[in-house]
Symmetry: C2
């Protein structure tokens, strides 16, 4: 599956992913009004607003981008109706030819991890039938439980040609509380990075592995070190834009071949119309604002890569 992602990146020239993390506060009033008029101020109404919002953003940007990353928490908060729209969003993005990275940060052990892997990347056997639950292409996974949590995902990735991104160094300010603690003189995140490289060997897809890593844009020096520790892992980089990362900070997350990293922006793209730079589009044309924000982000990152 990493080859599919790479092919999409090459086609669009855009090593970026749009985070579909639709908080209600980001959704223009006219979209919410229409949804609430139809389904009431209910979980169903909220989910419908999310769906209409997502659809317009995907329609406005899908020819420019290789992938989307829906953050399932933003759907789960609307209960069953939210999950229904998560599913609908995954399916719609697939129709548009996009790679879908389910940002689910799941992690458990043994048969439970296998169930999560089946839910998001695999299939389940029901009697004599084989059914596909959510069917994303990649999922994000938490490493705290060790190999018992990761191996069931790798099994599914190998079988179904899917991929995972394992949390290594997250973008948030307090990520260092545990991740930066020194073990035999080296930070925990480096040990996790080494395991990612090791796990990834079992799951190669061309020159890169289907086992990637999450490393926050907010920690460029650590990204540089981790790039060397995990040369064959694709790095999913959150924290660009709203969280403070800039294109120039990100060059060392990429390999010399210009591949090896994909940079996420969520708020910076989907709520672009609320930023001063894109205010001219207004809430009515929020999709166009998102498109302009994608173009600017691609320019920023490509520029930085060309001048590295």
């Amino acid at each position: 599956m990493i080859q599919k992602l790479i092919s999409n990146i090459k086609k669009t020239g855009a090593p970026i992913v749009v985070g579909l993390d639709p908080m209600l506060g980001y959704i223009p009033e006219h979209v919410k009004k229409q949804a609430f008029d139809r389904y009431g101020e209910t979980l169903e109404g909220a989910a419908e607003a999310v769906w209409q919002f997502n659809k317009e953003i995907v329609d406005a940007t899908c020819d420019l981008i290789p992938a989307v990353k829906p953050q399932i928490a933003m759907y789960e908060q609307f209960g069953l109706e939210g999950i229904r729209v998560f599913q609908k969003t995954v399916d719609y993005c697939h129709e548009k030819g996009l790679v879908v990275i389910g940002d689910v940060k799941r992690g458990d052990i043994g048969s439970t991890s296998a169930a999560y892997a089946a839910a998001h990347l695999g299939k389940v056997q029901v009697g004599s039938a084989v059914c596909t639950p959510f069917g994303e292409d990649f999922a994000t996974v938490n490493p705290y439980l060790g190999s018992d949590g990761i191996n069931p995902f790798i099994d599914v990735c190998s079988k179904e040609n899917k991929g995972i991104f394992i949390l290594v160094k997250t973008s948030n300010p307090s990520s260092g509380e545990f991740q930066d603690r020194l073990i035999d003189g080296r930070p925990l995140y480096e040990l996790v990075g080494e395991k990612v490289a090791e796990w990834g060997e079992q799951c190669m897809d061309g020159e890169y592995s289907n086992v990637g890593a999450v490393v926050g844009a907010t920690y460029p020096e650590m990204g540089k070190a981790l790039r060397k520790i995990m040369p064959k892992a694709y790095i999913l980089v959150p924290g660009y834009g709203a969280q403070g990362g800039k294109g120039a900070d990100l060059v060392h997350f990429f390999n010399e071949d210009g591949l090896g990293a994909i940079v996420n922006s969520s708020r910076g793209i989907i709520a672009a119309y609320r930023q001063e730079s894109y205010a001219k589009y207004g809430p009515k044309h929020f999709g166009e604002a998102s498109r302009a924000a994608v173009e600017d982000m691609v320019k920023d990152i490509r520029g930085a890569l060309e001048n590295r």
Copy 2:
């Protein structure tokens, strides 16, 4: 909410929780057949089988137990239909007066963690309405992302009188890969335990905190050390029975007051009818087998506590 759990534990005399982790392989053929006859060999059919299975187990055991712990992965694997049955199970267990621990092991940062907290323990604002998504009483949470991941859960716990159990030392064989690594001479899980104690201070409910910890039954010595590090945290103890833990191993997870821990069994209870000791009930009477297994588990743990 920890007081509600303690009150249920005192009422039943049973410091245990039944893990509702219904793999299809555990469900008797006659239950599956009925569900598949009605809904086909589909995700809907699988979810219906899970629901009928859960309902019979809950009906057969609810007067003996204080709480249940549905493992959401086992529902998520059946997609939207599985999530529907997760919701139905939570609601049904609430009707029966049980405390519901959502074993969701979520963990993210900032607004995303807040969305997970709202999804499972809180409420969401939709226009002028306030809606409740899944509405469990407790959720399990992963600490790898640090305080940025935990604080949004604590905010919701404080506001809504709910609780969390943070993964500290998990029951699986490879949990030591990261959790046991030494930092300044002490294992990572102890540092996480210290943070649990610190986070818990912000969220007291009587003599215990609404912030608890997960510590595997399979590591009794570590449980003993962690009990001292987190004196006010309730410990949720997985790994009893099928994973190898026995009542006698568990006494040090409890405080002198006989409180402070709640022991989970999943397979050992819900698939009891498949064990030799309960085979006499047969698949037709799987609920009665589960009831007998609950009675034996309570006897084992109470016996161990009385003889400590």
